[in-house]
């Protein structure tokens, strides 16, 4: 069994950091975190199909997802639809940038957002796992690729 080409940990860390800093500010940096059993409140995923097949997901605790939404919209109160929108846009940006690093041409899906953890396809394997921490709260970004039969 062979695994198709995958993005490097450093590349994923750099682009996640860029997304985070651009839209959430640099006063609170995104730090590398220890792998933890995350209490996932919200998650989102996009898939890439074509020359490269993969899935990128983001998992956040509820409080962090809400804070991300407040920062992105610059509001005090958040509705669930705003949180779903913000978390979906986060994974869209991260996934779009991962796609740009991989062989093309390929197509990026619209984001799928879940209150809880999104299921990953059973024929995929995690090739990059970025455990991070923001304002003392853990989050997880993962890249999966389809296993070659």
């Amino acid at each position: 069994m062979t695994i198709t080409v995958e993005p490097s940990y450093d590349d994923v860390q750099m682009l996640v950091d860029e997304v985070w800093t651009s839209f959430l500010g640099s006063e609170e940096p995104l730090l590398p975190g220890a792998p933890t059993d995350l209490a996932v409140g919200w998650s989102a995923a996009v898939t890439v199909s074509g020359e490269w097949h993969g899935m990128v997901s983001v998992e956040l605790p509820t409080g962090l997802a809400e804070e991300v939404t407040r920062r992105m919209l610059m509001v005090e109160e958040t509705l669930d639809e705003d949180v779903a929108d913000a978390v979906g846009e986060l994974v869209n940006m991260i996934g779009g940038n991962v796609k740009s690093l991989m062989p093309g041409p390929s197509v990026l899906s619209l984001p799928v957002v879940a209150a809880g953890r999104v299921a990953r396809p059973s024929d995929s394997v995690e090739v990059c796992r970025l455990d991070a921490s923001w304002a003392g709260t853990p989050l997880l970004v993962s890249v999966y690729v389809r296993k070659d039969a």
Binding site: S22, M72, D82, D85, E89, G96, S100
Partner: protein, 121 residues
């Protein structure tokens, strides 16, 4: 001037509008569309001076939106604001008649660089 911002994410439309202000383009009227189809209707009814569009949207994608505009004879200045900034996507955008492609995440400086020739020129 009137600027149409097309993106299926309300959060991203707000960020684009905020970034326009931060880049020094606060005096312009902004109208919003949730997808390319709605954008197409608004170009016809509102005659904006510039379109800033996401690429990946339900109903009608940004590239189909641009293609429909050009097919109908519209020459409205059009730029993409999208998470996909690969050379392939930039080439497709240019071939379709887009003036620029701003990749997400972006900065006010990136907006100014792309928009200045259109709005200040």
């Amino acid at each position: 001037m009137k600027i149409l911002v097309a993106d299926d994410s309300r959060v991203m439309r707000q960020i684009v509008i905020r970034t326009l202000r931060q880049a020094g383009y606060s005096g312009h009227e902004v109208i919003e569309a949730e997808n390319g189809k709605e954008g197409l209707d608004l170009v016809r009814s509102e005659a904006p001076d510039l379109v800033l569009s996401d690429w990946n949207m339900p109903e009608m994608t940004g590239i189909d939106f641009l293609s429909a505009l050009r097919s109908s004879g519209s020459t409205v200045p059009f730029g993409f604001v999208t998470s996909e900034g690969s050379a392939d996507m930039r080439a497709r955008a240019e071939a379709g008649g887009a003036l620029f492609l701003i990749a997400k995440p972006f900065t006010p400086e990136a907006f100014d660089e792309a928009l200045a020739p259109v709005l200040k020129g």
